[in-house]
Subunit: 273 residues, 2 copies
Amino acid sequence: MALPVKPSPWSSKSIQGVLLDISGVLYNNTEDDVGVAIDGSVEAVERLRKSGLPVRFCTNETQCTREQLVRKLSRLGFTLGVSEVFPPAPAVCQILKERNLRPFTVIHPSCDPEFADIDQNDPNCVVLGDAAKYFTFEKVNKAFQTLMSLEKPILFSMGQGKYYKEAGGLKLDVGAYMKALEYACDVKAEIVGKPSPSFFNAVLKDMGVDASNAVMIGDDIVNDVGGAQACGMKGIQVRTGKFRPSDENHPTVKPDSYVDNLAAGVDLLLQNR
Amino acid sequence: MALPVKPSPWSSKSIQGVLLDISGVLYNNTEDDVGVAIDGSVEAVERLRKSGLPVRFCTNETQCTREQLVRKLSRLGFTLGVSEVFPPAPAVCQILKERNLRPFTVIHPSCDPEFADIDQNDPNCVVLGDAAKYFTFEKVNKAFQTLMSLEKPILFSMGQGKYYKEAGGLKLDVGAYMKALEYACDVKAEIVGKPSPSFFNAVLKDMGVDASNAVMIGDDIVNDVGGAQACGMKGIQVRTGKFRPSDENHPTVKPDSYVDNLAAGVDLLLQNR
């Protein structure tokens, strides 16, 4: 008896734009911070470009500027431009300007240049990024005191990640410190970055593609896949980066597809085209 | 027309034992860490003792040992013995021994001696205290990695305070870091200290007094007053220390009485005796 053919639950033919996560999808971190491209990822990005599909790089990376990130990826063999990279810092800066806010920032010093033209005197809000070892008690307590001094405390968090994987092991991400301040100050943070719908929508607008015709490929089941799906996009999870086997039984998020890596994800998108 | 006499909602005659919070009730912190006794508090403790009511000092202090705390209070004029002081560290050490647990501790170095006879090799749980400036990223991340390496992560938090007041301003307390690790590791901390019922009950057992015949006097509406009430004790809030006027409209906790300070609280307890 022939096994039943499981029908494909969605057709890649409808896809007109592709959003790619960076860390854990294009490359893995290494101890020396140079990074190493994930097998087949450089060629996979090339194939996507040759297919004519617009591609954007959608990341919660806040430990460097866009320029630094593009240089790093170029050294690993990837071809991409600064304007194709969407991290949270430029998005939060736009919000700060629109709302006339002056932040006290708890961020990695490498991210400082993104805030170069933002007034940070007499702060009336707090911005958190992945500050890593710069999450000192002094700095976190200053952020806390700033929030407590405000009648209506405003806290921005660039992402809400719990942790990420580095060569040296797992590392606490910005989300943990966001929760610490939310609890201490009785405030709810505004997330800028994935999985915020306004963040995804800004990328879609830049591509000129409707959510229903776009797909996000990432290694984070909640922030990449779940976030994209909540916006009406398809979400594909790669089994690289921070992927864990338990993700395939996630209680709330069910990806449209799982693929072993980005190369397999691009195979899936380009089949039948 | 005479104003109606508001009946007292509870009688202090039933009280057979008194639990006192320390910081913000007996004394206030000062920049030089010497502290300053709150007006009338030294005499109030003396009057309680002369009345024959047993007294215990029930604190979430984890920045020093019991001996250091007693010496500090003695210098401020208070008379008390080490065996009358109940901080969380000895309580957590007892739990660690009973359950055969070896902690990775994130605590203030002054609290280290309380853990002197606890095996801390190859840790299989994490203990958090008010580490203040010793909440470095390296230390908090090591606690996180320890929890993530365990099949069933166990996190103890000595209290769940959000912040406290020091001469230099507000300071983040252990509860904020507890929330950070709870979020990052998908774990629920076991609180040791106020408002944990087992902590209050151990103090009541030591006094040999039933909860229904005991009263807690504190400045923390949630952890002192609410915690004591949840155990069946009366709870009195003083308007000193971290008291804020908004406490008098707290959404969930309604103290049995408010008093301006400990002296007024002792007046209330000793009237009609």
